[in-house]
Structure formats: C-alpha cells, structure tokens
Symmetry: C2
Subunit: 432 residues, 2 copies
C-alpha cells in the first residue's frame, strides 16, 4: 500500500499524535461521521475488494470459520458504518478532569485524561476490525498503525484508504492518524519502534500473541489464551445451569470467552451431567473429563491432564467433578487464563465468594461467559479483551486507550518553602 | 537472608497474594500499625545494622551522596514508622465500586478495584524504601518481593525481618506478603518469573532501569531518565522565575524531577539570564548553553549537542534561548523524558497552551518541578514516578497498585437471547 519504511510510518504517527491529542470532541466526531459516510457510500468498492480476498482464500483452501469471518455483505458494511457512528456518540474520553487537589492556597493539582499516543494494532481475518479499531483510536486521540491479515488484504486496503480520505476531507494534515502496514516483516520492524509506539494491541491466535509479547519492549495489551470456566454448584438451578453452559460453549465456540472447562459439584453431578452431556453431544461437542465424570456418562472420555490447560476454540469441552467451591476456585485460579468464569448457583453467599476469590478479568454469576465483550458491557465497542494485570483488564473500550497527566498551577511556589523543619508553608491537600 | 530459590519465593508470593486480596481494610491497617510499632520499638537494632552498612560503605569508598542517602538516625527511623502510619490512614484502594451498569433487568455489571497481585520492587541505597514500598503494597493487597542495594544490606535485612514479624504477629500465614532477595543473580531470576510476578517497579540509575526493561517480559513501571525542563516565557515575572528555576535545579539536584535544561524566550533573556547565571554559578552549578546564551553570560560555556539529552543528576544545567512558546514545546517534547516540566509566565493563555501541549506526566505553571512527588501531590506516599504511557503516570501511589475486575450478576441470561435479528431481549446499558 505504501513504500514508506516502518520507522517513517511510526515517526509520522508520533507527529500526528501530538495534533490529535488537541482536537475537540466536535472535531473528532466530525471526522468519525465522515468516516462512517465514506464507508456507507462505498459499499460496492468494499464488497468488490472483499470478493477478491474470498477468491484468494478459496484458492488457498483457507479454513471455513476464517472464511466466514472474512466474508462481507451489504448488511455488514452498513454495520461497520453504524459502528463508527456509535463511537462518535460516545462521550469524549480525553480532557476529563479526573481529580483536582488544592496542594496549598494558589497551588492546584489536576489529573486530566489524555491519549496514550501511538497504538500498533495487529489482527486477523475480520476486515471490520479496521473501522472498529481506527474509530476507537481516533475518538481517544491516538494515532494508529493497523496490520490486518494477509487474507483480508484487499478489503483492508480499500477500508484504510476510505478512512484516510475521510480524515483528510476534514483535516488534511491529520491523514496519518490511520496508517496501514501489510507484511510480517513490517510487523517485526514495528515491534522495534519503542521510541515512537506506546502500545501494541494484538488480536489473534495464542501463539501469535505470545510471539508479539516476547518480541517487543513496547507494552502489549491483550490476551493469549482464553481458558474460561463454568462451575455448576450444588445449589444450581438445573435449567439455568444447562442453558448458561450451552450458551457459554456453543453461542460462538471460536470466541475467546467461550468455556473450555466445566466444573460440577459432586452432589449435583448425577442430576445434571447425563442430560447436559447428551445435549452437548447432540450439538457435536466432544467431551473429555476426570475419572468421576466418566462414570456419569458414556459420552465422556477420560481427559489427558494437558487438556485442563488447553483452549480448543472449537467443539470440545473438558469436564471435572469437584468436591466444593474452594476446589473449584483453586482449579480456576490454577488452570484459567484470567479471562472469564461463571458460577451457576442459587446460593448468593457462595456466588459472592466466587466473584471475590476468582482472579479473572470477568467473573459471572448465573450469566453466560459470552457476555464478556465491549459492546455487551456497554463500552460502545472494544479494541480487544485484556487479561493483563496492569493498565486495562477485560473488554477494553475507549477508557483503555487513554492515560492521564498531572497539571500543577501555581504562583511561583518552591519546594524549599515546604521542606525541612523550618518550612514556612504547609500542604493542605484539599480535594476540590 | 534465605535459602529459597527465587522461583519458590515467587510462588509463595503468588499464593499469599490470593489471601491478601481478600483482607478487609481493618485487617490490613492492623498489620500496618503493627509494622509501624515494630520499627518504632526497634530503632536501636536498625541503627546498629545501619552502622555496619556505613562502615562497609566507608571501606568501599562509596560516593558521598549515596552514603548520605544510606545514613539513618533516630529521627529517620521514627519517620519510617510515621510513614507506615500515614499509609494506614489512607482509604482502602481495594474493593472500590468504580462503575455499575444495568445491562438489562436482572443483569448487573460492576467494575470493582482489586490488587494487581505480585510486585517485584528493586531499589538502591535508601533503606527507608523498604517500609515505604512494603506498606504501600500491603495496603493495596499486593505481595511484594523487595531487592535493595548491596550497600544497605544489613539495614534492609533488619527492616525486612521486623516487617515480616509484624505481619506474622497478626496473621501468621501472611508472612510471605513481604519477602526479600539480595543478589543480582536473584534479580535476574526474578525477571524471568513472568508467571508469578505481575509488575516490576525499579528505582535507580537510568542504565539500571533500562537493563530491567530490556530483560523481562513482566510489565515495568517507572522511569529511566528524568530530563526535566523549565521554560521562562517572555511574560514571566522575573523574581518568580528565578526562584522557581533555582528551586527546580537546586532543592535536590540528584532527584529525577530536578531540571536539566532551561529554555528562555529570546526577548527576556537579556533581562533574566545574567542574574540567573550568576546565582546558579554562586551555587556551584556548571552552565552550558546554545550560542545565543553564551553571548549573554560569560559563565555559560557552549554546549555539546549531546548535553540536551543528558540527565546530570548533579550541579550542571544546559541553557537554550528559544524564539517562542511553540519552539519551547517542540524542544521539550523532543528532548524531554516525559517526566516534569514547568513554564514561567504571567500570561495564562500561554500557560494553558503549555499545560495542554507538553506531553509529560507532570506539567507545571509557575511552580517548581520538585513538586512532582507522591507525598507533595497528596497521594500519601509513592512507589516511584512513572513516565510510562500506560497504567500509571507521574508519581504513583496506592491507585497505581490496583487494577479492576468486572463482576456480572445475572439470573441465567444467555447471549443467544440478545443476538441476531430475532433476539428476544435487548440491552438497556443503564448506568446505576
């Protein structure tokens, strides 16, 4: 798409980021609406590029699920435009006064939100990631460098050009707010641009995310594995439990927030497991499990220990019978990836204990793990789901794309006046 | 101090971290007060260990400033105890409901603050870092592994034992909330414990922090360089400007928030520079500068270009005359390290422009850069100052030691009901 070096691209991002950080909410929303309009009005060009990608994918015998994620249609294109419009409607996350403190009379400290700077986003197959991530980054005042998958190259090119043209139609000098790179070699170069890029957001397979994490000094936001759990407690409502487990596994099995392990309290297992195993089997789910679970249903085969730590991203589930809540929590904290877990129970005390003690980014009580998603959580949209323990955790929307700075307004105060035993002034530290 | 492997130490930290995350505010404060009491009551043992360290430091001909940071006295020891008591008085940062959203009737999402988990803190010379960092980590529910400098080894050992005994006196099984390691080899091992350690906080020289950043997959919070700037605008009040510049450079020249570069508007330079250069020279500050500055005072020697990017941490200052605010801001964003910068001006419009456009963690107007400090900012205390663009920026207190998780409480809802064109339910996304 371009012949610039990645270093030059990163420098341009850094430069434009300073300008982006100073746009008003209105200015940003004007650009976002222009982006939405550009996509809406160029549906045919997008679909025709997508057709080229699909032809290539057929030739290369790309997997079916990947092709289905790659495929666009007129409804999906209008959905992209609508997605950008929703981002425009979200409150401006930049310039929010988070805290004001009077340090002393005439010495006022304000903590104010500001963009992170330059984001590198790397993702696979789904072309709708381009407008989604670009609009969230623009709304939060960040410059972004996008790298999509080889299989969506033509779609991404057209989408990228439309977004850039839309930006340029409002602010000609901000066109580099969105830039695209295409090759793996360019990704490797991007990972070395720690002086220009502030955050890398990778979305893709476990191995891919782990490769990124191991090969850059830039902070990485995201998750590699999504090993999620459901735990059916002794006091679960059986119908709710079955419905939530089926949804958590089957509503979209390839998603990171689909469950891989199912834990069942020993006292309820005989009542729920035969029916649940049958229903999962009817849906084509391959079942493995612990020795006790195998005794409950002939549909369950003995699990290999490694299967407790495996993300299948498909129609397979590992089942374990446990003696109590404590064992379930211990198992999840050991084998889980800190993503999303659910307890099924009518006992609110046990539920609260689960919600408190399970150390995952999303913990649920009687609700599908599939709810762990930026749109469903009401964040408007998401750049991804994070299992990091710092910066942002769980589904990450606009708030995860800003940081803050401290502004201190004074009248010539020096620290000397506030220091030592003979200091002439004292701090008031009054919240304002 | 101990014969455990670092892997075993890290595992113990991880294990105790789960327990720490569930302590109530009262339980944590009881431990903190026991820590303060232990230090207060064992002043002699601490001072005698410190004396050993000082003897070793004399033998090894350690630098004066380092020895002065190493030296304890009865007042400093009581100050440590007092510091812990102040941390006990701070509000509990864990379990704060940050946001509650009704996703739908009977489906309630809460974002709640929680500890990060296990912190590795590495620092030099000042033994008071031990109680300070340990108390902040304990208050925020994190386990901590501390590594102090070789020169403070005896002091740190006694302090570490006192803190551990104090914890054990209240909760015997939480003793590993604070653990110490001592050797560089152990630090290298700790940096590889990415499965057990969630955050590394290094405090020390630039080279040291950069070594840490380059040698671990664990997120690192801190700053390497502190290249801070003062800019004297054309409309500055001369007396305020001189006082703030002198304080920013001289109040504690070795501090990271002391200035290294001074920028002066060309129109005010003749009025302020001769007097300011004289005063800085009187205090022993070596002055280098641009060609135009050299013409203003014979005390200034021509700077080598590399000096604009150098942190002296001592009595040296680089001076540059600039044509306008835009040049000053551009210079700072290029040469600064994103730490702390100040504008001296009586023009509030220019000041606000500076506060907005300078991309540093602390930006100041008519106040010394030395104010950039957790205690002075009213955070109670700090674990360090961060120039990161993610997680936490500027002086980092308790808030930087917590993250959050999402809790979702439902009644058996599945995502299927909310999905597709024939969905039977819709999200309300009502903030509560």
């Amino acid at each position: 798409m371009n012949s610039l070096s990645v270093t030059e691209i990163a420098k341009r991002s850094r430069k434009v980021a300073f300008q982006l950080s100073r746009l008003t909410a209105q200015e940003k929303d004007r650009v976002l609406l222009a982006m939405a309009e550009a996509i809406s009005a160029n549906s045919e060009a997008i679909l025709s590029a997508n057709k080229q990608d699909l032809e290539w994918a057929e030739q290369e015998k790309i997997d079916r699920p990947l092709i289905s994620r790659l495929t666009l249609n007129p409804g999906k294109v209008q959905g992209m435009a609508q997605g950008i419009r929703s981002v425009a409607c979200l409150p401006n996350p930049v310039g929010v006064r988070e805290k004001t403190t009077e340090l002393d009379k005439g010495l006022i400290l304000t903590r104010i939100s500001c963009p992170i700077g330059v984001i590198g986003a790397i993702f696979e197959s789904r072309p709708d990631a381009v407008p989604q991530i670009a609009s969230l980054c623009f709304k939060s005042g960040n410059a972004v460098i996008l790298k999509g998958g080889r299989e969506a190259q033509n779609s991404n090119r057209v989408l990228g050009s439309l977004l850039r043209e839309a930006i340029a139609s409002v602010f000609a000098d901000l066109v580099d707010a969105v830039q695209l790179i295409e090759t793996r070699a360019e990704v490797a170069e991007m990972l070395r641009e720690e002086d220009s890029i502030d955050l890398i957001i990778p979305r893709g397979s476990n191995d891919f995310v782990r490769y990124i994490q191991k090969n850059t000094q830039i902070p990485v936001l995201g998750h590699s594995e999504g090993i999620c759990h459901a735990y059916i407690d002794e006091e679960a409502d059986l119908q709710k439990a079955i419905a939530v487990v089926l949804d958590s596994k089957l509503q979209y099995p390839a998603a990171c927030n689909a469950i891989e392990n199912l834990l069942i309290h020993v006292n309820i297992a005989p009542k729920v497991l035969p029916e649940l195993a049958q229903k999962l089997n009817d849906e084509g789910v391959q079942l493995v499990g612990c020795e006790r679970s195998v005794l409950q249903s002939s549909l369950i085969h003995l699990a290999d220990p490694i299967e407790w730590d495996t993300e299948y991203t498909g129609l397979k589930l590992a089942i374990k019978i446990v003696d109590d809540l404590e064992s379930a929590i211990g198992f999840i904290n050991e084998h889980g990836s800190g993503h999303s877990e659910v307890i099924l129970t009518e006992n609110s005390e046990l539920a609260e204990e689960f919600l408190e003690k399970v150390d995952s980014s999303s913990v649920m009580w009687n609700a599908s793990t599939r709810f762990a998603d930026g749109f469903r959580y009401g964040l408007g949209a998401e750049v991804g789901i994070s299992t990091n323990k710092t910066h942002a955790r769980g589904p990450v929307g606009l708030e995860g794309l800003v940081i803050y700075k401290y502004q201190l307004r004074g009248e010539g105060q020096t620290v000397k006046e506030y220091s030592g035993e003979n200091s002439s002034k004292a701090f008031t530290h009054l919240p304002l």
